[in-house]
Each structure stands twice: as structure tokens, then as C-alpha cells.
Symmetry: C2
Subunit: 70 residues, 2 copies
Amino acid sequence: MSSTATYTVSGMTCGHCVSAVTEEVTNISGVTDVQVDLASGAVTITSEAPVEETAVKAAVDEAGYELVSR
Amino acid sequence: MSSTATYTVSGMTCGHCVSAVTEEVTNISGVTDVQVDLASGAVTITSEAPVEETAVKAAVDEAGYELVSR
């Protein structure tokens, strides 16, 4: 079984930003796939089990961006 | 003796872009310092001797951006 959640991240402006967010979110335990749409800021996270929003927020912060909404 | 030249680069949108351009331009033989102003796109290159514009253009291209003017 897998879980998918989509968040919105602000501040991403280029492919490097996408890479930074993808890398940090991928590092969250249990995450199996991360898809980022630069234009909309949508970050779709697939994981083995639901991921705590606080963990996602921490990862996005670590990358240098802001989690706006789920 | 050192030489300084300022170019304008378009397409840089964030700190990662600045890092990518700085890294590629720094790799040009003879370059001793590179300063990038993200807001204006100004890239100021200090080198031991004047650097060929074609070398700067190639480095900026390699980083994924465009040299607009000198």
C-alpha cells in the first residue's frame, strides 16, 4: 500500500530549486517518489505510509523554501 | 596586473543559478574572481589577463544561461 499527498511550496523559481526540494523531500523516511511542478509549486509525495506534515515542512525549510498549503 | 570585465547574463532566478554561473565562469583559465548580482544579472569577472568573450559565453551556456551583453 502507498500513500500520496500533494503540497504547495512557494519560492521555487528554477530547475535547481526543484532539485533542492526533491532531494530534501526524498530523504524523508518512507518516501518512494517526489514529483515537483515548478509552475504551480505542487509537490506530490508518494510514500509507503502517510508522511507527517511537520516532516514535509522541515524538509522544504531545509531546502530553503516555504510550505504554503496542503 | 589583473583585468576586470562585466557581462550581463539572463535567466538567473535564484541563488542556485548564481552558484552555477559562478562555478562555470570560475573554471575559465586565468579567472581569479567572479561576482554575480542576481537582481541585475551582472557578472563581474576578474582575471590575470583579459578573457575572450567566447570563453565567457561558453561557460555561461554550460551553466544553462544566456550571455546577453558586455
